[in-house]
């Protein structure tokens, strides 16, 4: 039965089908690979092919709104101790005024996750480090609390914990005497979620913050930075931060 039918197929048809099948087989792993790069299995180390970044559109950022700051504090367990000068602020809203033109701006500023982070350069023990995917972190296990990274950071993004802390978020360990800063919610990113600030901004309907892989040409953030003008804070320092701003 099959022999008869087979004869019905033209040679060209057969070739076309096999090419399509082959193509499908070849393509499918390709697609799968991209997917894996984004949703990493828990036992896989982070990949250097990814560069996580943030794009902040200051035109969409509402001046009085601090939803991102609140979300960060809740997510990371940053509590108000009543000592504002020693309290940590992983993200803050900086109000800007240009005296020459009168233009006002409101900008969320956090660790800029530099490609060449000065905090990493100065850290005596290597506690300050950049993960392969571009997230700059503090390894609190070897941080000695020398505070050199705080001195070196041009963005005022690093802080040190001044008081003993209890009841931390189990996902976000932090304790007195160690330096710290925005982790880009690395514990959320590792389970394929957005940083808390970005989620809060989207929930509030502002959509001023986009998180994604700057190296992936299909990601929204990569396409936006390719299409529209964006800048980095203190770009003159050539640190190439992963956080970019639109409308500054």
């Amino acid at each position: 039965m099959s022999a008869d039918r087979n004869e019905g197929f033209s040679r060209r048809g057969f070739l076309a089908i096999s090419a399509a099948t082959l193509g499908g087989v070849m393509l499918a792993p390709g697609i799968r690979l991209i997917e894996i790069a984004r949703a990493r299995a828990p036992d896989q180390p982070v990949s250097g092919k990814v560069r996580w970044g943030l794009l902040i559109d200051t035109n969409k950022c509402a001046p009085g709104c601090d939803d991102c700051v609140k979300a960060c504090a809740t997510e990371n367990g940053l509590k108000d101790t009543g000592h504002p000068r020693t309290d940590a602020q992983w993200i803050r809203k900086v109000e800007l005024k240009d005296m020459r033109t009168g233009r006002n701006n409101s900008v969320p500023v956090m660790c800029q996750h530099c490609e060449h982070p000065p905090c990493v350069d100065v850290c005596p023990t290597g506690a300050s480090f950049k993960r392969a995917d571009g997230i700059v972190l503090v390894d609190r296990h070897i941080c000695i609390g020398c505070r050199y990274c705080i001195m070196a950071c041009p963005y005022k993004a690093r802080t040190i914990v001044f008081e003993n802390i209890t009841d931390q978020n189990p996902d976000v360990p932090r304790g007195s005497g160690c330096a710290e800063s925005c982790t880009l919610c690395v514990h959320r990113v590792d389970r394929d979620q957005q940083p808390a600030c970005v989620e809060a901004c989207t929930r509030a309907g502002h959509n001023a913050m986009i998180f994604g892989d700057l190296n992936d040409p299909h990601s929204e953030i990569a396409q936006r930075v390719a299409k529209y003008a964006s800048t980095q804070i203190r770009a003159d320092l050539k640190l190439n931060p992963g956080v970019r701003y639109q409308g500054l």
Binding site: P118, T125, P154, S176
Partner: protein, 397 residues
Amino acid sequence: MAESLIYCELGGSGRRYWALLALLGVPLALGAFAYFYIEHYGHIATGMDNQIVWGMPHVFAVFLVIAATGALNIAMAASVFRKAVYRPVAPLSALVSLALLVGGLAVLMLDLGRSDRMIVAITKLNPASLFARRVIFYDGFMLSVGVYLWFLLERRMNRYIKPAAIVAFFWQLLLVTSTGLEFGFNFRAVYDSVLYAPMFIAFSSAYGAAALILVLLAVCRWEERPVSDELLRRLKNWLGISVGASLFFAVLFLGTKYELARSRDVARFLLFDGGVYTALLWLGQIALGGIAPLALLLRSPLRRSALGWACAMVILGGLAQMYVTLIGGQAYPQILFPGLVESSSFFDGEIHPYTPSLVEVLLGMGAVALAAAIIAVALRALAMLPTRLDQSAGPQA
């Protein structure tokens, strides 16, 4: 050797010596108390905050480290540059240098947020970090100065003094330059100038010479050790030149900051509107630490007491300078958006206040006492100074 110098230990009655140590024990004990207090409560017990993260302990630490490198200059003049007149005080110069460095490093380590992890600071080094490389510079400096001091004191090793001194000289240069660059490489508006490297060499020379002369005068008050006028005159001149160079670099640094439009605001802050920092700059660093001692030192027949006063002024002026550099440098706001006026809940765009707490000052004073105690113990235990400092040394330097 025609007339060899006879070195001997610090004399005096045992009771008098123990009284001196007990006196030094008071600030040492207070410093230890301050350390445990900060260790227990965390840095919230200090006046520091997340804007001013390096406080009073760092003022003392950097001052002591800078003075330590400078105190070695006299020994280097004797052993590398063959100035025989300084030969009798060469061991003392090396000793003061080591003691000041130990004091400075002690307070630096004790002020860490996690001082319980000192072992990590020593064993895990990030090779890219200037700060970590400085750990190697410190170790190398201590080792090379230690070897040099041993060669000075051990007659059989005397012939190797010069090579050992040259090694120590290079470590000294590395250490003092990197201390200056630690500020010079910083992005903060007050720093960010490579002038810090030569400026700190001048500062170190002045502070170190002042500390050394004070110790020498103290030993001469303790017991009869005649010092030649020639040696004192040369030390006085050396101090004068160093203070003059410090003033020159300070004026050059502040002047260029003011002259360049991009740094004029920060120069105005330091020179005119900085409040306590402006006052400490003009009255402390420039007047008390520069012009006044220079005026004293320039009077040619100088009494010993006047020399002592000049040294004390240089040291106080040096502490004022460190305060202006360290605290003033952090108090001035970090500029994220040049040309725009910044404000935030994190005190962006504001001058940050800082009031040192008592425990911080006690910790710093403890480090000074530690250095003094090391000098006192070493002088009593080892023959570091000649009985007479008014004979010329032999040809071998």
